[in-house]
Every structure is written in C-alpha cells, then in structure tokens.
Symmetry: D2
Subunit: 344 residues, 4 copies
C-alpha cells in the first residue's frame, strides 16, 4: 500500500501511519513524492477504517513489490541523483569513463585528464576488483582509492568505484563520490543493507541473470535502508553466443523508465566485451532512453592489465560523448516516448 500525503498534511499523519503499520507487524517506510510531500509505503494493507487521517490524498493498493523505487511512490517526478556537481537523471546524458582497474597514480591522473577533456564528467576505476581467479591481480585496495582521490583533486571529476563487502562501505565512501555495487554482488543483500546506511550515491549494476523485478528489489534494499541516491546500470546479461562476452539488454532501459523513478545508465564495455561494438551500443543505450553511459577508456588499451579488449581510447570517447549528447537532445526535442504510458 502506498499512501501519499498533501504538502500541507500534519506530520502526525505520517507518524501515525508508521505506528499503525508497526502494530500490524507490517514493514513500512517513509519517503517523499519528489515535490516535498510525504509518502508512506507499507508491505501489506492497512484497513481502510484506519486511514481516516488528515492530509491523505491518495491510497494505492496496487503497486510493485519494490514500493519505494516504483513510479507509484513518485508519480510526478523522476529521481535526480547528484554525484559531486553532476546530476544524473536530469536530462543530459552523463558519461562516466576511466580504466577498468586503477594501476598507477600518475597514469590514472593522465587518464582522468584525458577522459575529462573527452567530455566525461565522472571518473571510473576499480581499486577492489572481483576477479574470477584467486591468483589474478585483485586491485590496489585502499591505495587505489587514494589514487582516485588524487585524480579527483587534479581534475575536479567525482569518482565512482566498486565496494565488495559490507565492512568496506565506510572506507570506500570516505574516498569516493559514488559506490559501485557490481553485477556479482547485486544480490549480496548484506552489502546492500550497509550501502543503504550511508548517503553516498550508489551505482547498482544488474546481475548477469537477474530479472527486472529482482534488480529493482535489490535497489529497494538500498532505498529501504535509507539511501535514496540510487542509479541503476544495465551491463549485459549472460547469453549463449560466444560472439559476445555479455548481451547488453536494452529492453531494460525503457522498462525501468516505465516502472521506476530511478535513473538508469548502460555499460556497453562489459555489455559487449568488444571495443568495436562499444560506440554503437552506447548510442543505442541513449536512444533507448538511458541517462548516461559508463565506458572503459584508456590511452593505451592494449597495455591495460584488465579488459583491454573492450576499452576505447579518449579520442574515440570524445567523439562518442558528443554523439550521445546529440542523440539525447534530438530525442528530447522531438519528444520521444519515455515509456511512462500506462503499462501494457
């Protein structure tokens, strides 16, 4: 049940609703409708007789199980997530770019300058790297986080980097402007709970074989724990064709726009695994309605320790950034459908 209050509703209505839910043994949370009014979501139903409270303007019985993340909880506005000075979901497509892994401080700063000049507004780079093999390079750890902070200092770009376990959340949040939760950890619920306890924005990648509902329920863990700053990232699903590392599933983009108020970006680097496909699939993502892209970029892809095959150069990135902006502007100007129509 999703209960929306008027802007003028007394605070007591919200607290009373939360109390009633608690007394009924139902999980409930308070959020806002994006325009200042309170919204209470309840995992279950409060009897209608108990809803005769001042300031309630709407009660929805029917909504997705991801209540806080649903369009029903915020029907009139979309969420904009601020990372440093950058706004994700505000209309202009955001480009996050950088190396797969942070390897060297000076090189990272060089790359940060290069991707900034290419039009990127957020720097990506892994300090803690989930690797399939225990014998592979696992990232520089906290030293890598320090390098990222130095690169931010040098360029002004906010940084996004991965966090892999609950106990790292505070440390990574200390250095980074945005926490990435990787595809392998999308259903690491304890990690989600902890990342929900800070206010640092979270980039939540979709699991390799997660359904839309499972993904949005993982976002709900973050929202339910108190962190409203969630950006989703489609990064490819597991497929049967060895031609691709993963299958970038762009159906996800208009679907998420239709059922949720959260911003969504796409990752064509992991979503294809091949440098030659990155550009076109980034553009396709923007045309599908994504609020941005995250791209692996490196001046010398062939020398990158990890994922060189799917890494483009800053020069390629510069051209791509402009094209992404042009496509987004064109579609905004011609009023392309945002899939906000009543469902099908």
């Amino acid at each position: 049940m999703i209960i929306t209050m008027a802007l003028t509703a007394p605070v007591s209505t919200t607290t009373t609703l939360l109390d009633i839910a608690a007394s009924l043994g139902l999980e409930a949370r308070k959020t806002d409708d994006g325009a200042g009014a309170d919204v209470v979501v309840v995992a279950g139903s409060i009897p209608r007789g108990e809803l005769d409270l001042p300031g309630i303007v709407e009660v929805k019985e029917k909504h997705p199980a991801f209540m806080l993340g649903s369009r029903e909880a915020r029907p009139r506005v979309r969420t904009i997530v601020r990372v440093g000075d950058v706004e994700i979901g505000a209309g202009t497509p955001i480009v996050m770019a950088g190396p797969c892994v942070v390897e060297d401080r000076d090189e990272l700063i060089e790359i940060a300058h290069a991707v900034k000049q290419a039009g990127a507004s957020i720097l990506r780079g892994g300090a803690f790297k989930p690797r399939t093999s225990p014998y592979a390079f696992q990232g520089l750890g906290e030293r890598g986080l320090q390098h990222l902070a130095d690169a931010r200092e040098a360029t002004g770009l906010p940084v996004v980097t991965e966090v892999m376990e609950p106990d790292q959340v505070e440390m990574v949040a200390h250095y980074a402007d945005m926490l990435q939760i990787g595809a392998r950890n999308m259903a690491n619920f304890n990690l989600l709970k902890r990342a929900g306890m800070v206010r640092t924005p979270v980039l939540l990648k979709r699991g390799f074989s997660a359904t839309m509902d499972e993904w949005l329920m993982s976002a709900e863990y973050l929202l339910a724990a108190g962190n409203p700053n969630v950006v989703l990232c489609e990064r490819g699903i597991r497929g049967f064709d060895p031609a691709f590392r993963f299958n970038l599933d762009l159906n996800a983009v208009p679907h998420v726009k239709q059922v949720s108020h959260l911003p969504i970006i796409v990752d064509p680097s992991h979503g294809t695994g091949r440098r030659s496909l990155v550009g076109r699939m980034a553009l396709a993502g923007i045309a599908a309605g994504a609020d941005g892209v995250i791209i692996e970029a490196h001046p010398r892809p062939e020398s990158a320790l990890v994922d060189g095959n799917q890494t483009i150069t800053p020069e390629e990135l510069r051209k791509l950034t402009r094209q992404c902006e042009a496509v987004a502007s064109l579609l905004a100007y011609t009023d392309a459908p945002l899939s906000m129509v009543a469902g099908d």
Copy 2:
C-alpha cells in the same frame, strides 16, 4: 578461400577456378564484389600453384565459414537490397509496417494507407501464420496473399509476407515483393534452399536462440543457392525474464555490420512484446546502426486477432518514423562508427 578478380580479368579465370574446385571436390560459388568484378569463394583451399591465373588480385585464406555473406567477399561495398522501388541498406532507414495478420481485405487497405501516410515504405502482414497451437487461426492463406497484392495496388507499397514451406515459395513470390522467413524457420534448410532459387528478396529473421554464426550460415544457404537479395532481421532472443516476450539483442546489429555486407533491420514489436517499449527500442536499433525497422501497426490494436499487445497505432508510427530518420541522419552526419574496423 576467397579469390577476387580484377574488373579486367578474363571470364576464363573464374570458370577455371570453379572447375578446379569441382575437381578437388570442394564447394565453390561465384559472386561479385559489388563493383562489377568477379569473386570466387571456395569451401576449402585450392593449392597456391594452381592460382597462377590472369586477373586474380587477391586471395584470402582466412574468412568466416559464411563466405558469400562475409565482408571479405565484398570488402568495399555493402549490399543494397531493392524491394519494389525501396532500397534497403542505402542509408535511409526503412520502415516496414502493418498488421501481424491479414484479416480482412478492406481493413488491410485502410491500414496500408495509414502506415504509408505514417512514413512506412513497405507493408507487412501475415497470410500464412506459424501458430503455437493447431487450434489457433492459421491465417487466410492464398486469399491473404491476394489481399496483400490488392493493398499494394491501392497504395503502391511493396509487401513482405511469410513463407512457411518449400512448396509455397513460388506462390508467395508470385504475390509478394519480399519473402519473410520467420524465426521458427531460420534453420529450415530446405525452405532456405528453395527461397534461394528465386530472386525475390528475402527477410531472414534470427532464430530465438541462434548464434550470429548460425544465422549468417542460414543466410549463406540463400546466397549459395543463388539469391543475393538477403536482408537480416534481429527480432529478439529467448530470455529468462517474464517482463519481456523476447530480448531484442541489439549487439547483433553492429556485429553483423562488422562481419557481413548484408543489410540488417530490427523488429522491436516481437523483440519486446510490449507496445510501450516499441518506440524506444526502434530508436535504439537505428542508433545501433540498423538499416530499418519492422513494426506491427494497426489502427485498433485492441481488436487485432493476434499480437495486439505489441501493436502501435499509425499515429504513433508517424512520430516514430520521423525520429528514426532524424537519428539516422544525425549519426550519418557525425560519422558514427559502422563497426567496420578490423575486428577485436
């Protein structure tokens, strides 16, 4: 082995090569490089010593198994397929539209006029329908083909329609301007062989779980049998998420552009199964580099016998057609990558 001749090469070189291949028990075919010169493809290798013939300019040992469809066989030009007066693959995105199934002659003509006014240049509609259930409506058959021909007469739009078995090829080719081979029949090799014996253009849909190589090998059946007029159509692969009927796999588009000279379009109606996703995914397909889209459109989607859930109105189609053209123009103008770079 792919052997390219000079424009000035004597015909005898080509015939000699075909004779040598035959004497070695190797399958071989003659095609052209798109600019008038002969190309001979051989499934295997002719000894170098036998290649000392006048007019041979290039011999490639390494190429995909789909030889005739490969970029190697036609490295400098892309194939343009003509359907009536319409050119597919020539730069302007083509919109094919119409009902899922032909139901009634007058209604079909009404729809044909409507989609033409909306900017579509080819009329689609099923007369023979593959249905999961033997008890479901199987299409009007030849009568449906006659209605399609009447709609062409009335509007000037060429028509594309499905053919389901080898013995229907001639009949369908008699009425239609383009033969559709559906996803379920992508590996119906006898049907492909027969459709390769006519010159009518073929729209070859990708099977639900076909790899890129399997799909291009099915196209190769058409080419090897003598029909060069092949257009590929990505229409969604089978996925695990009940939110979508199929997963439109746009990675396929830049991949095909990279490895083949054949045109490719996308089908966002079947590739999503949901009306509200069709527009954005059509645009994403064009941004990915597709040469066109095929869309189920009907003035009264809710009354369509089949697939109403994924059908849009001519009004929606009109807006979409313009946006597709605008995105394609923009990307052509800004020189977006065509994935023709040396592979990765």
Copy 3:
C-alpha cells in the same frame, strides 16, 4: 473442454458433440481414453445445457491447451507407441542407437548388427541431415533411406530417421518405421501437419529453446492431424557454458510424465556433446523416468563424418544398455514416483 464417454456410450453422443462444436466454430477432435471409450476435446466450451447426452461420464473445463496430449484426455493409461515390434512406454527402457549419419551401406549394416548385439532395439541414422553450413555434407538422401531399409532387413531392427520437409513425409515413411522431427523443425508446423496425416510413429525432438508448453503444442499438431503415435525426445537446450554443446534438461522428463500421457526418451549424445558424459546422463535420464534413450554409436567414432565427439562404441553401449535396464527395473520395483500426483 474434455468430455469423456462411457464404454457403453452410443456413437451418436460423440458425433453430436463434434457437430455442436463445429456449429459453434470451435475446433474439436475425437480421441480415446486408452481403454476403448471415446473422448472429445474442444478448443473452447460447449454450453452445459447442450451436454445432456447419453453416455457422458465426465466433463473437464480445466486442462492444458495441448488437449489431446494432456493427462486429462487419458487419465488412466499412458500411451504406448509401437515401432515394429518394439513398445515404447511399456515399462522397459528402449535403446535406439546408430551412427549420426548414414555414410555407407555395408558399414551401416555392420553398425546395425553391433548395436543390436549391444542391446539396442531400434536403429537410428540420418539420411537427410540438417547442417548449419550449406557447404557441409547433407546426407545421402533417398539412397540413405534404402541403406536403412537394408540394415533393417539384415538385422530385424526397426529404423528411425529424420524427415525435413512436408513433401518428404510419404517417402521417408515408405522406408522407415519411425519419423524423426529434429529440434530445428520442432516448430515447422507444416511439417508437423503432414507427419500427422500418416500413422507412422513420430519421434519429436524438443527445440533448442522451446518451453514445455510449446513442445507439447507441437506434439498436439501431430495428434490433432490424426497421428496418435508420438514419442517426445528431450535433447538438450541452449546454454551459456561452452563446456557443453547443449544442456540436457532432465526436469523435462518428470514434467512431461506429469502433464501428458505420451512417452518420452532422452538424447544424451546431443544433450551433452561429449562422449565422456553420455553414459552417466543416459542413466540419469532413465532415473528421471524416461522411457528410453537415443544414442550415437559407431565402432570407430573418430572416423565418423559427423558428431564423432559425442559418439560411443558398441562396447560402451552394451554396458550402458544393461545399466539402463537395471536402473529402470530397480525403480519400477521400488515404486518410484511417476510424477502423476496432482500438480504443484
């Protein structure tokens, strides 16, 4: 709607029901309950008021869309399909074995003798072969069918072989004891319709990415066209792991036993793609409840033109045949669940 008559019901009840359905525009078919009584299945509902006819003992409103193949149509017995003298579905697991492709008459007869001695009771071998490449060996065609007939003559083993297009049905049925419809043609509905017009038993393989319902609906095409002799064959679904050619999906076996009265066998050769996995997965299939297995066997797997990697020797087959029988006996003796419980 499934309407079961008493053994003593007058014939007029059945014909009246079929007439009523026809007058309502509903598809309907007559079958039998396996014990001699008529059953009428109707794709839709006949009003209760019209069902006051002599001899009707049960009317089921709720049943799967594959009406003729459903347990509801034949609740008390399972279908036994006779191929020559062999009974499939009668309790003893049947082993079909032979080469992937018929290559040579004498070799085929040698193999037929070998697999017979190893315990196989049906000979398999392809004369018409669906090949991904148009340049690959496509089988011997009718000459291969003649070789199969010769091998039957020599050994007494009935033969099963693939049919690939509607117009081949009669020819293949002329030579073979059982028609195989391959995975790629599971949804080749015109082929199914034609194979439904003969009485020759059909082995219907599951498509690479077909759901249970789609597969059983394909079987329904055969049944609805008048051929009751249908055996299903699980042969592996498309998966994401390059370790396996396909993933043998044994969940299918108890599921089919629960919802249908048709026999089902498994194909561990294609379902794994690896010789070393064939034995164990055949045994697993029998333990899952399958009525038999179909195995690629050849005295010299390494010299087979096609699929040698998944082919075992007659010696290996002999041991496997005995183990399959032993597992089936053991489970029959200890009354293993047949999944015929009311669903879940």
Copy 4:
C-alpha cells in the same frame, strides 16, 4: 604448473619450489596428492632448469586454471569431506535434509528427528536467509544458529547452514558443522576468502548462471585460502521456461567428476521448484554420479514460511533415501563410468 613430489621427497624441495615461485612473482600453493605426498601448484611456469630438485616425480604444464581443485593436482584419489562423522564423497550417497528456514526451536528438533529417521545424515536449515525482498522474513539470525545446535544435540545430526558475509564466518562456524555459501554469493570473493581461512567444511552452491569454470574457480578461492574441505552443489540454472523455477543442470555432475577431485551433490528442491519433481530429479542426480542430495523437507510443507512448494514430507524422504542408496549401489556394483576417462 603442477609439481608432484614422491612420498620420500625432502621437505626442502617443496619449500624451495614455493620460494622460487615467490621470487618470480608467481602465486603458488602447497597441497597434497591425497596419499601423503606434497604437490605444489603454480599460477605460471617455473623454468625447467630450476626444477632439478630431489623427489620431484611429475611436472604438468597443462592443467585447468583451478589448479588445486583439478584432477591433475590429485590424480589418484578423490577428496572425501568429513562433516561430523559423515563422509561425503566416500561412495555412499549422503542425504542432507531439513526445512528451508529455521522458524521455531521445537519444530526444528521435531523435523530433525523426522529427517534422521527418514535416512538423512545431515540437517539443513537457514538462519540467515538471502531474500529477494527487504521486507521479507530474513531468518532468525544467531538465534536460528542456536536452534540448529540444539537440534544437533538432540539428534546427533551435524548441521549445514548458510553464511552471507565475511564477518559472519567465524560465528556461523562456531555453531555449524558445515558452511553453506549460496548461489547468490558464489562470486562473493571476499566471503570465499574468509571461509577459506577456517577449516569448517563448505558447501558451495553454483551461481544461477555460472559456468563450470567460474564455479570451480570460486572453489579455488576456498582451497587457495587454505580450506580443503569443499563440497560443490548443483542447484539449478536460470532458464527460459516458466514451468520450472530453475533448471537442474545434471551435465554438471559428470563434468565435475571428470575435471575435479572435489565431491558434488545436487539440490533438486531449488533445481526444480516443484515438489512433484523432487524425487525423480534426486534419483537422476545420483544416477549422474552425485555424492549426495540436499532436500527441503518439512512435516507440513504447506505451513512452511518459505519454499513450501518445493518441500517434501519426511515420509516421501524416507522412500527417496532408500532409492538413492539402491541406485548408487547398483551403479557402483556394475561399475558405471565415473567420467574419469581422458577428456573429450
């Protein structure tokens, strides 16, 4: 590189090899061949010139990336994992059973007695439960662990239960006899590292869409961190058919037996999602060569808070346990292939 020593080799050979690897910057680990001799595995190659050390009997250059878990590291014996007094991998199939979630102490003890009488030798039950929804019951936590310890006390059955984050490893290991790492956490590498630091046996479930290599690399994290007591569990992969919750992928069983020395069990409860399929798929798993099964069992499945649909009764379990033992005995007696043949 995998280097095997003789039983009589001096300890100095092993330490020298580890030193050489370290000096070359290569990850290396010491393990044993199962019969008392040292084995050193190196992620990379030591130059042959440096291998002239006393007691080296074999050097393998070719082996899987999961070195410690590979058959090459332990070619002559399979690993047996002891959980309490129970031996997994020693020939007799082990049955682990119990409720999905621990709900109530007394009920748990009742169930423990019931599954013990039914032939189970390990009690399963979740105290920490990964749930898709943040609003769903998340398990009793440490109180649930205490109940499990009480149930062990009451029945003598060792217990296996899930651990969800690195910091819980010691606590769960304090109460439980075996740690379960769930499918969602298969690639939670920090959790694997921590669970590798204790000696408590680990049950490592396969991720929903993990390849064989990814799964065995996750096991390698445990082995490389020092915990040799690893049991793999196939629990179903994500599929496209809504008829099944997951697709139990039994190909995995003989494959693992072929490439690894670790024991493997199967989970037909999650691998099907349907009570009516559990029995047959458990038997199929044993026939495929599994060392045991893990089954959700509850005296009143319909009243279980979680997963009642896939839960069987102790009575059903009793029959199933006997059948599993009978099938395993039969196949051991008849010497069924263990897929230990040289690969294919």
